[in-house]
Amino acid sequence: MEDIIICENLKYSYPGQNGFAVNGVSFTVGRGEFISVIGHNGSGKSTLARLINGLLEPDEGKLTVLGMDVNEGKNAIEVRRHVGVVFQNPDNQMVASVVEDDIAFGPENIGVEREEIGRRIDWALSAVGMEKYRYATPARLSGGQKQRIAVAGVLAIKPDVLILDESTAMLDPRGRKEVIDVVRKLNKEEGMTIILITHFMEEALLADRTIVMNRGEIVLTGTPEQIFKQGEALQTYNLSLPRISVIAGNLRAAGMEIGNVLKPEELADEILKNFNNRGIYAGQSSYPAAAEAQNPGDWDVEIKNLTFTYSKKSPFATKALNGINLRISDGDFFGIIGHTGSGKSTLVQHLNALIKLPQAEKKYHKPKAKKGMPAPVLPSLTVGKFDLADKKTDFKALRASVGMVFQYPEYQLFAETVFADVAFGLKNFNKKLSAEEVERAVKDSLEIVGLNYEEVKDKSPFDLSGGQKRRVAIAGVIVTRPHILILDEPAAGLDPKGKSEIMELLHKLHREWCKTVIIVSHDMDEVAENCNKVAVISNGEVFACDSPANLFARANELTALGLDVPLTTKISTRIAQNGIIIHSDCTVKDFSDKVIELYGGGKNA
């Protein structure tokens, strides 16, 4: 195999920063290889991508791409023709408002003939499966589609190497799968060399070879099987194990013989093999727990017949909600899942009247009853004692009791100091608070999100790390001590460790601070692992609302909707095909326990 990229002891430090972001990295990449690079935030993965593409020049060391020394003369520019990079945010990579114009941008830059550009657009669009969208506007595409267009835009330059720099981090599972499928196809069919930088361990597994980075250095390298066998080592590099490896580890610890597996089907087969050895061919694990009876609480949310249309009366009208009926009980850790565009964000914005019911608008007039037509059904929505259909409701008080954390909340920070930013909401809602009261509330809320009050209060929020910024933003919402806390994709864009820390924080808040927590998510595993009740929204309607165990028992229906199911469900579905039913609440821990319990009860034990 021809070595297409050769790095020898590469070092790079950003101007004005201490220490090297990439510190003595050496590796080679062969033509046609598929390499995944993992590492926590700030481990130097993205810097490495920029070095290989010639966007950054190494301080030390030698980098050869296709026989060209990148440090020499104009090679850095030339290298970009051969190494394409797709970045993280699909919105920030496009220059034109029409798909074909955007794809043409790269070839135009390198002076490709007009007719050839046309052919390249055809080819690039078919390579990413977006032929139908040639004349579409990027603003109207989904995240996954936009990112595929970004891939096509890079492909049109006909590079030899394609680097994806966390290109799936901002996408929903469907979008991630679309992009990853495209990348695998390019690797297999076109022989394209791929370097996939990712936070998702499940994606890293797909590569021929995985490189693990920590603090600017390569600490591990090998096939994904070899890498993910080293559970503890990975954790010292601030990485989490893929869920499948966690389950396999739990089962091994209980004495089951589980080989090296990376796919749910393989793990299911391994479990079945173990069961068969013990003479378990059919049967059932423990019975499902009886559903708890729920008493009405003071802060129940009741939604009836909720409909909503964006841009009504314009040619662009789109129906976002189509008759939602939903009940969220006081004290729930509630999950709302669905595709991007299913209406889930629109739904939650109704809960604190960011979108008001039509009856609550100032200009609302009762529609006149038309003869022969049934009276129109009006939506109703109550949150605790607040009736959101009533114009006279104190919406400000409602917003103080129903906190809302938007996606990427760190992008809404604005004040000069962390203290001022957190106090902003508090002062808006209650202008009469004394300075001491404000200080105490801000201190409490910064501390509960896990920040050191004295250390951060006078800092500019923009000087904090990504994870800290998000915590400050959450503190700025919970500072009013809301009864209900709503979070839209709270873990989006974080590395695995950051994700689990945020979810831990939410459980802490749920226990000590906000009685009801509602998360909007498209990550099935996240929802299964954390929520006691889940509503699935599809095409503006509630498809189902149930506990994870009951909901994911309907795996086939969810798959038919194009939704994913949690890993544990994938494994248990496969096992169920062989007559063995495992009733778990879909969390990794409970699933492992139930499998071990069944295994322990076998005849040959």
């Binding site: 920030n92 990579q93 135009e108 604190n352 938007f406």
Partner: protein, 281 residues
């Protein structure tokens, strides 16, 4: 809420006017406006009106949408109308009070002026209703092409316009999200005096500005990675082409120009009796 809507006025139907070359539409609009100002009698103005009606019908845009664009200038129409009707000089005085006087010539002139402005705005909105901002940008770039010879940065200008258009929906979305987020934290943008309201914008503007810079930086990297290095040795994929529609439309515009000039010359001969009511002085 401004959500997922194309900005500007573009009305998405597929019509004769929609499919005209944007360059032609731009030139035709300029020609039309010139003709509006060349016209000095009501016959010529009627010819202008006729072409406008044809264009509106051929564009298949509901008349309500076209008229809506005039709403914004109603105040200007009334104001200039009032100014002219009271101050225009003329021989046939109907009414006078101090410096204010209403004359026949004044009335005729005012009516003419109001129609002229009205047609001007209508014609411009036919262009913006039937042409996407992207097509307009392409058209302007193509029309400005000759200026490259005097070192005018046409390509750079076009790229800036294209990127601006591309990011308007993105930034509108972002603005809405930030407004919602600050509203959820109790921010109030609707009450208080003007200074309070301006101050209330700070929590929106700062995050928006920071985000715009972040996006600009990322976009710069992405453009670099896609080998962008200015207009040198660059090819262009998109080519605008005149088609048969443009030829047909060209005949209409040509007829208008001829009509307006002929009416200007011969308007006395058509109906000499009412000549004084037709000609604008």
């Amino acid at each position: 809420m401004l959500n997922d809507v194309t900005f500007g006025q573009y009305y998405p139907v597929n019509s004769f006017v929609h499919r005209l070359d944007p360059r032609f539409k731009l030139i035709a609009l300029i020609a039309y406006i010139v003709m509006l100002f060349v016209a000095n009698n009501f016959y010529a103005l009627a010819a202008c009106a006729l072409l406008l009606v044809c264009a509106v019908i051929a564009s298949r845009v509901p008349i309500g949408s076209v008229l809506r664009s005039v709403k914004g200038i109603i105040f200007i129409l009334i104001f200039t109308g009032a100014l002219n009707i009271f101050f225009h000089s003329g021989q046939t005085v109907y009414w006078q009070w101090g410096i204010f006087k209403v004359t026949l010539e004044g009335i005729i002139f005012t009516v003419f002026l109001v129609f002229r402005l009205f047609f001007l705005v209508m014609a411009s909105s036919v262009l913006t209703l039937t042409t996407t901002p992207v097509a307009l940008t392409d058209g302007i770039e193509s029309l400005l092409k000759p200026l490259t010879f005097i070192k005018f940065p046409v390509h750079e200008l076009a790229l800036i316009m294209s990127i601006a258009l591309r990011f308007i929906p993105t930034l509108i979305d972002e603005t809405n999200r930030i407004i919602s987020a600050q509203k959820a934290r109790g921010a109030d943008f609707e009450s208080g005096n003007i200074f309070k309201r301006i101050k209330a914008m700070v929590p929106i503007l700062i995050p928006l500005l920071i985000s715009a810079f972040r996006r600009a930086e990322e976009l710069g990297d992405a453009m670099d990675a896609r080998c962008y290095s200015g207009s040198k040795n660059r090819t262009k994929y998109k080519k605008l082409r005149f088609g048969w529609r443009d030829l047909v439309a060209f005949l209409f515009v040509g007829a208008l120009i001829a009509g307006v000039i002929l009416f200007n010359i011969y308007c006395f001969d058509i109906y000499p009796q009412i000549y004084q009511y037709i000609k604008v002085t």
